[in-house]
């Protein structure tokens, strides 16, 4: 079922939120206000948002080390996400997760795994749980082209197919596992084709076309909710920035400057969708309103993060166990 006007605007809003959040986050990272590593989702917004728009809040989701886009795509509030990147106590993970682990349970995300392929069995387990509990919830799993070569992909898709679990496997195929291309690492370069060997539906789509991603995912979600099992979606997308901010190695390019430029100028998912919205009768004025609102939301998130406090030293052991073990904490810090 195609998106109505308000859902179309929401789709555009979420894509733009990812873009502006990542642009500003990258600047803050370079300025030293965000510690650790920074993996931006710029270029992959259509795949993320198109898939998320097909889900309900109570559907579970898992993601990857490139984690910022997933909660934004699922509709999360930006403030706690930005505060988390800055390592603040008000962060969505209380400063325990950071850039590679922006999981927001309130929108259904149970984990963003920086162990490549680590989220695939977990999402499969969410599907098993929904089946046991007799609900019509589904789970959706984002992973990259690199994760397809992990054993967990093979094992999990086999189980999901065997038991017809309500799981949607969405491969964000951006062409490169850090620097290793699909051509250099996949015996079968069509990831969608692998589905056939597990006895499930596999579909390859243009991951820069948010409508195609939404419609394909929506069909997969309907199949899953009605008990017809899992789907593998391979969305061909592209990462505009480096694997990680600051990781560019000038003398050993693994992809050409022309290739990157071609995607940025002709295959930018936000520019492509803007054209679609205008031709669908949404006015420049309406889009400009969304664009201004997104800028404001991102600025507010940054201010919130900057004004928030760092976690207190006394909170080091918080969230480790459901029932704190004070004895162990004292022993570890040598205070006994």
């Amino acid at each position: 079922m195609p998106l109505n006007k308000s859902r179309q605007c929401e789709t555009y809003r979420r894509m733009l939120r990812i873009r502006r959040f990542e642009e500003e986050g990258t600047k803050l990272y370079i300025a030293g206000k965000i510690p650790g590593a920074y993996h931006a989702s710029i270029g992959q917004e259509a795949t993320i948002v198109g898939a998320c728009m097909a889900l309900r809040d109570d559907d579970a989701m898992t993601g990857t080390h490139r984690s910022h886009g997933h909660p934004i795509g699922k509709g999360a509030d930006l403030k706690a996400l930005m505060a988390e990147l800055m390592g603040k106590e008000t962060g969505i993970c209380k400063g325990r997760g950071g850039s590679m682990h922006l999981a927001d349970k309130s929108v259904g995300i149970i984990g963003e795994s920086a162990i490549v392929g680590g989220g695939i069995p977990l999402a499969t387990g969410c599907g098993l749980s929904a089946k046991v509990r007799g609900t019509d919830q589904v789970s959706l799993c984002f992973f990259g082209d690199g994760a397809v070569n992990q054993g967990t992909f093979h094992e999990s898709l086999n189980m999901a197919s065997l038991w017809k679990l309500p799981v949607i496997y969405v491969c964000e195929n951006n062409g490169y596992a850090i620097t290793t291309s699909v051509a250099r690492s996949h015996g079968q370069p069509s990831i969608a084709k692998r589905a056939e060997s597990y006895g499930m539906t596999g579909i390859q789509i243009d991951g820069q076309d948010v409508r195609a991603v939404y419609e394909t995912t929506d069909e997969a979600v309907q199949r899953a909710r009605s008990g017809h099992g899992p789907t593998l979606i391979e969305a061909k997308t592209y990462r505009f920035d480096e694997h990680q901010v600051g990781l560019f190695v000038e003398k050993s390019p693994y992809r050409s400057a022309e290739e990157i430029e071609e995607h940025k100028t002709r295959r930018d998912p936000i520019v492509l969708y803007r054209h679609v919205l205008l031709s669908d009768g949404i006015s420049e004025g309406e889009l400009a309103t969304i664009e201004a609102e997104v800028l404001k939301t991102v600025s507010e998130a940054i201010r919130f993060g900057e004004e928030s406090a760092m976690p207190d030293a006394a909170s080091l052991y918080d969230y480790l166990y459901s029932d704190p073990i004070p004895d162990a904490a004292q022993r570890a810090t040598g205070s006994r």
Binding site: A60, T62, G91, I92, C93, K94, G95, R96, G97, H101, A103, D104, K105, S106, I110, G111, S113, I115, G118, I120, P121, L122, A123, T124, G125, C126, G127, L128, S129, A130, K131, V132, R133, Q137, S139, G151, T152, E155, S156, N158, M159, L162, D318, Y319, L320, Y321, S322, D323, I325, D327, A328, R331, R336
Partner: protein, 331 residues
């Protein structure tokens, strides 16, 4: 509710084996809470004492040979409302499952700032001393002790394994249960109360005494109690302690005993380097050094793999003779 139950009442007990107590605990928890499911390989045929025929297929999941991923599937199910018991059978298979156990189950509560909880039990059995060679004979619990966020159980009596497994199922954190197959046939009294729980993190004094403290883990408990019995006839009094929970360790009970005896022997069947005994010895040195009258002694498997040939395998694990000799060295 169960055929094994004798007379009613909270204090009623029935004599059963360690293995039967394990089965009983799982049946009781499956009946008590519909969120509890069992996951493992070959469950239909070797369904752990006919658990399989009591429950429908949505509760007992027969897994393909995919230890890494079905462990992860259990974790995903635990986060979204179930309380799985994942049976990994032979302890060496824990290595295959270790990535999701360590990188997901142990870390997700912490890494999400408490948004997620992972109420799951990972079971496995340690099958050493049965001529199965090194890939089926490991006792790998010390490796997991080094992982924050896990709780680790290794009880030695039928009542303890029942009460601790039930506590583990009801716990909101990931719990690993290392069963020692040397204990499976061991029979003793087990409370029939379906709410009989042994608290996680509490040691138990299995034999009170005054001359030497012996901390024995898992299957080593059998010989510790035998040696305690033998030596008592010579007037030597051992205090034998079972930590029952390896993480978190109940050091209070152990240190209280050492304060009384001034002598400590640690015995277990894991390899010697960085094992549980090493950790206990270190903490006793840090916190109760003044109580020690003699050096701490450790008996454990040497830093060599478990060989296939029984002639060689018999050399690997501590014996009653070695334990008795260690006691005499300290007196």
């Amino acid at each position: 509710m169960s055929a094994a139950i004798g007379k009613a009442g909270a204090t009623a007990q029935v004599r059963m084996s360690y293995l039967d107590a394990l089965v009983q605990a799982q049946i009781e928890e499956l009946e008590r809470d519909e969120r509890v499911i069992l996951m493992g390989e070959n469950m239909e045929i070797y369904g752990g004492g006919k658990i399989f025929e009591r429950f429908d297929a949505s509760r007992i999941w027969n897994m393909p040979i995919s230890e890494t991923s079905f462990t992860g599937v259990g974790i995903g199910a635990a986060i979204t409302g179930l309380r799985p018991i994942v049976d990994l059978t032979i302890a060496s298979f824990m290595y295959l499952a270790s990535d999701p156990i360590i990188n997901q189950a142990s870390k997700l509560r912490y890494m999400t700032g408490g948004q997620v909880q992972v109420p799951i039990v990972f079971r496995c059995c340690m099958y050493y001393g049965a001529a199965l060679a090194a890939q089926h004979s490991d006792r790998p619990y010390p490796m997991f002790m080094n992982v924050p966020g896990l709780k680790i159980l290794c009880p030695s009596s039928p009542a303890d394994v029942k009460g601790l497994l039930k506590s583990a199922v009801r716990d909101d954190d990931p719990v690993m249960l290392f069963e020692d197959t040397k204990l499976w046939p061991l029979k003793s009294e087990v409370p029939t109360d379906p709410d009989y729980l042994v608290p996680i993190g509490k040691a138990d004094v299995k034999l009170p005494g005054s001359d030497v403290t012996v901390v024995a883990i898992g299957g080593a408990m059998r010989l510790a109690l035998d040696v305690g019995d033998t030596l008592s006839k010579e007037g030597i009094s051992l205090e034998v302690i079972d930590p029952r929970t390896l993480k978190p360790l109940d050091m209070t009970t152990i240190i209280e005993s050492v304060a009384k005896t001034g002598r400590l022997i640690l015995i277990e069947n894991a390899h010697r380097i960085a094992n549980v005994s090493a950790e206990i010895a270190a903490i006793v040195c840090e916190e109760a050094f003044n109580c020690l009258k003699k050096p701490i002694l450790r008996l454990s498997a040497p830093d060599v793999h478990v060989p296939f040939s029984p002639a060689l395998e018999n050399l690997v694990f501590p014996t009653k003779t070695q334990l008795a000799a260690a006691v005499r060295r300290l007196l």
